[in-house]
Assembly symmetry: C2
Homo-oligomer: 419 residues x 2
């Protein structure tokens, strides 16, 4: 079972848009047992898409096309599909009604151009788009499946999960094939090569399976891939490898799959009915924003203060002016006080704080760009840890927020190791 993904759009090749769709589709198709073996990104050019469709029909079981279904003049997918399959466009009544209703519900008059959204090839099946106006299109020819979907991620994603994958599993009877399973262990606080060293001999650890190291500024993800004859063998192998890895580097693993550190922390705080508050300086709301991205975070997150100016540190949080004068805003003492103050004001169980020099300018010899203090306070104690990151503002903010959340995770789990 082989899939190919054709991502359409000059905007992707030219770099105006990042191809997040490919990642999503790749993951879903891999899990369904139809791995995407090739993803070709091409421009809005009729001839090239015709060639790609012909390559797809010859070499792949399933072809997914994303993009180019919009209502404007630069959208070529439907005309090319009609040409390639020697078909014609017809208007779908239900889709037209759906498009009209979307505009109606937003109190906007429907621009005329949107009527074309309801046109689909006569020999195709509509893939319903609940979140937008452009329907998806499914065409089957000689046991080969072609699916065209809109490029807007939040429209395309549910269409894949709720309609395309279930169709393919049924159509190709995928429940009786070789089983691929993957699991990703998420680590933070330790670099790729150090993890590699801690893990020792990789082939002893994983045998015929695969282990990939996927570094990013928030940590290294370890992806285990196994392929076995059946479900239970695959699950057993995955379990065995995971346990071996956890034995060696367990304390750095904060979660599995696609979860973020803020979700892990949120779950613990919620279960234990604990409250969190934040005082952010150099991260400027990044940690708060991550905490709040989790649905239901209002149950454990009281709020945060982003005290960018010294005046606000004093007036809103009550940080001691002497501390700021004597040690400076970027110091162990200020970081500790920020956490203590915001915890007291809000009566939270836990507080974390950040203060540092995010860059690219503003550093001194004594306090260089990349220097960050992260403060922690609970009802009994408080402290601050020092970190030295790099010169890139965005990465410094990312790393600081990740380390701050990891300090909280370690406190919540009783892992006291300094790193």
């Amino acid at each position: 079972m082989k899939a190919k993904l054709i991502s359409i759009g000059d905007e992707i090749l030219i770099g105006q848009i990042i191809n997040t769709n490919a990642a999503f589709i790749g993951e879903r198709f891999y899990s369904a047992g139809i791995p995407v073996l090739k993803n070709t990104v091409i421009g809005d050019e009729e001839n090239i898409l015709m060639e790609e469709l012909s390559d797809s029909e010859m070499n792949y079981d399933v072809t997914i096309i994303t993009g180019g279904l919009g209502p404007t003049h630069d959208d070529i997918t439907k005309p090319v599909l009609v040409k390639y399959f020697n078909d014609k466009l017809i208007s779908d009544t239900k889709v037209l009604e759906h498009v009209r209703n979307i505009f109606l519900s937003r109190n906007i008059n429907m621009p005329l151009v949107n009527e074309a959204q309801a046109l689909i090839p006569s020999n195709s099946k509509v893939i319903w788009n609940s979140n937008g106006t452009a329907p998806g299109i499914l065409i089957v020819k000689d046991k080969k499946v072609f699916v065209a979907l809109p490029g807007v991620p939040y429209e395309m994603k549910p269409m894949i999960d709720e309609q395309v994958i279930p169709f393919l599993i049924k159509f190709f009877d995928l429940n009786n094939k070789l089983i691929h399973r993957q699991k990703t262990l998420l680590t933070t606080g330790m670099g790729e090569s150090s993890l590699n060293e801690l893990l020792g001999n990789i082939s002893e650890l994983i045998g015929e399976s695969k282990l990939a190291f996927l570094p990013s500024s928030s940590g290294v993800r370890l992806r285990i891939n196994v392929t076995e004859e059946n479900e239970s063998e695959a699950e057993d192998k995955l379990f065995l490898i995971e346990n071996k890895i956890r034995d060696k580097i367990g304390e750095f693993i904060f979660g599995e799959g696609e979860i973020d550190l803020e979700n892990v922390i949120g779950q613990i705080l919620k279960e234990r009915n604990l409250k969190l508050a934040l005082a952010e300086s150099c991260t400027g709301g990044r940690i708060s924003s991550r905490i709040v991205s989790v649905p239901g975070s209002s149950e454990y997150y009281l709020g945060g203060v982003c005290t960018y100016s010294n005046e606000m540190k004093i007036s809103i949080l009550g940080v001691n002016e002497d501390t700021l004068n004597k040690f400076g805003a970027v110091s162990k003492e200020t970081a500790t006080e920020l956490a203590e103050c915001v915890r007291k004001i809000t009566d939270a169980d836990y507080a974390i704080s950040t203060t540092g020099i995010a860059g690219p300018t503003g550093g001194t010899e004594e306090k260089p760009v990349g220097l960050v203090w992260i403060g922690f306070a609970d009802r009994k104690s408080s402290y601050a840890q020092k970190f030295l990151f790099g010169n890139n503002r965005e990465i410094n903010i990312q790393r600081s927020s990740q380390r701050a959340l990891d300090i909280l995770r370690r406190e919540l789990l009783g892992i006291k190791t300094e790193y």
Copy 2:
């Protein structure tokens, strides 16, 4: 002049990593006059990479390979390059010293595996990696250029800008060819099809040039592409088209190129020496985080309060308890007071606030998920605007933060239109 990009990594196909590198490289190569006409994403498989290299050598002038240069067992790029070009690996002294220094500066013992980072094909040129341990590799064969770069974005990007592009411009003498120019106008506050309608007849507007509509949750980007015989004709054409577009939808255009709304606002606040403060509820620090992402934002951003709980709205900001009781946290009155209170406390010139129901749960018939009030206050006046977004928490937070910043932009520029 044609370029092809080969992105290597199972992690991309399987969807564990988003291919942001492709967007960056696509943009840079397009501007340099070597457009990427195809981007193929393939797995960590020797045979497939060998085939891709052969296709590249036949059909493209330049091939960029990203990924697979790391120190771990799953990195295949160097072994395959050596095999394809019938070469051997040698250790580069300078690179080895650089790798050692990186570990030294972080006070970490260098894991042995990192010595392999200094190995490069004997017939290649090193592309220096200032931000990491894996060097880039440049190989020239019969006027075809092959470049292998690490997959870590902040390592790869400066290598492209400072070394690869300058090399290619010189090598291919690119200053005497057909001129491609593009410009992107960034809009917010109006949907794709409504903009399309406001713009009227597109081919009258742009002639032989191209105009792409690139929608996202923060707005629609309009990309103009022109191709002309020389620099000045290209610039003139671009200028003409841009002015026609601005005539029709100017008030929705907040910037050009890759700039974000927070940068545009930051520049205005800085120039006029004005100060900003924030009171965020439903956006939970997202606006603050965006403001702070701009280097130098401490000059105009005093700070923000993320009052997630009602208690914090009262205790820290001094919002009237009666307002909360009578109208609720998500109301015109509370939004207005949040902005007024944070402005007064910080003595800022401008304040914006958000309060809403981000979802996915927590809505009522009267106040459904997606309802957001955005408050504004300056030294003379205050008000709040109501928005009704959708059911997706992340998108509601994104849209709220974008609309809040746009309200501020319109106030700063004196554009009073409600939208």
